[in-house]
């Protein structure tokens, strides 16, 4: 027949897919949200050097800076993302994204930030 793939081939493909890219759907969604909403200031590479920064009085955070990022808790990152910089005594230039992203998307974003800095909160 040869029309349908063999059951073992399908199972193997599923297993390879599941093990090779764990959490891909979650990560790509946060990555896409980062590219859309965060990169304009924090940069396409997350280095704090976005296209908007030249005339900003406070420069955006470098999300690849593990030393700084490890001082912030996941809750701080969540709050800043959802409610803006003022909510954690930071700059008004960091806006609130709570009307744009869902709580689940912001939680995913916090995890994505941890992949950018390759760090965890040192207190956690």
């Amino acid at each position: 027949m040869g029309r349908f793939p063999d059951f073992r081939t399908v199972l193997l493909s599923l297993l390879i897919g599941a093990t090779a890219i764990p959490g891909t759907a979650l990560a790509s969604s946060a990555k896409d949200n980062y590219r859309t909403y965060c990169a304009q200031c924090h940069g396409l590479q997350g280095n704090g050097r976005g296209v908007n920064i030249r005339d900003m009085s406070v420069q955006p955070r470098n999300h690849t800076d593990a030393q700084y990022m490890s001082t912030r808790s996941d809750q701080d990152l969540f709050t800043a993302d959802q409610k803006g910089g003022l909510a954690i005594d930071k700059s008004v230039l960091m806006p609130p994204w709570g009307d744009t992203l869902t709580s689940a998307e912001i939680r995913d974003m916090v995890q994505y930030l941890r992949t950018l800095c390759r760090c965890k909160n040192s207190a956690q």
Partner: protein
């Protein structure tokens, strides 16, 4: 005598109808113009993108509520002599590349908007003004006549609300990922500006402009400031 009455009646009837008929013909021509020359880049029917994929694929601003958004005089002028409003293009991330000092716009990826003849610009603007949307949102807004000094306006815009991060308020000052705002007062209707500031997501659910929960009084200040920035801005 009877024939004269018939001829005169026909003449009068024709004169009475010629205005509306001419207008209808012009309207139809304008819509045909939009469909043939604008629809490939602009959404004329709605709705606005509700996914990032659709947002990224958008080539030009949505026009299905153009009549609620733009001022006709500006539309006619701009369509004849288009100049870039979004310094980094429709979706900034598609036109920005990493550089040694940070991300920069790659001008080679930006395409100029076509210019229309004066006659076509009038037809297109007329047709665009007939496209209305979100009247419910517009109806909620009131922008009383008033003014604000540019220094106070800049304080609100920049220091209090941080809008400067993404928008230019002078040709070479401000952020680049949003449309420039030094011509917004000429370009946009005041109540649209107020409504969009109040909730960008109500107009464009996935847009990268955040809802900063700006108070009513600050919204009015911002609209007055944008009007002050572009000297031609007027209330209405």
């Amino acid at each position: 005598m009877k024939r004269l009455v018939i001829v005169l009646s026909g003449f009068v009837l024709s004169a009475l109808l010629s205005g509306p008929i001419e207008n209808a013909r012009a309207g139809q021509k304008g819509m045909e113009l939009l469909m043939s020359r604008c629809a490939s880049c602009h959404n004329l029917h709605g709705p606005a993108p509700t996914t990032l994929a659709a947002l990224w694929a958008r080539k030009g601003p949505d026009m299905f509520y153009a009549g609620s958004k733009y001022r006709k005089k500006w539309l006619v002028s701009w369509l004849e002599h288009p100049v870039r409003i979004r310094p980094a293009g429709m979706f900034y991330a598609d036109h920005v590349v990493p550089g040694p000092e940070g991300d920069v716009i790659d001008p080679s990826t930006l395409k100029p908007h076509m210019a229309l003849s004066p006659a076509d610009a009038r037809l297109a603007a007329e047709a665009l003004m007939s496209l209305r949307g979100h009247d419910d949102l517009i109806a909620k807004e009131t922008v009383p006549p008033g003014s604000i000094s540019k220094s106070m306006g800049a304080l609100v815009f920049d220091k209090f609300l941080g809008c400067i991060a993404c928008h230019r308020i002078e040709p070479d000052y401000g952020g680049l990922s949003g449309p420039e705002l030094y011509t917004a007062g000429d370009r946009l209707r005041p109540r649209f500006m107020a409504s969009y500031i109040r909730s960008p997501q109500a107009w464009d659910p996935k847009i990268w402009m955040p809802n900063k929960h700006v108070s009513d009084s600050r919204i009015v200040q911002l609209v007055h400031y944008l009007q002050a920035l572009s000297k031609g801005g007027s209330h209405g």
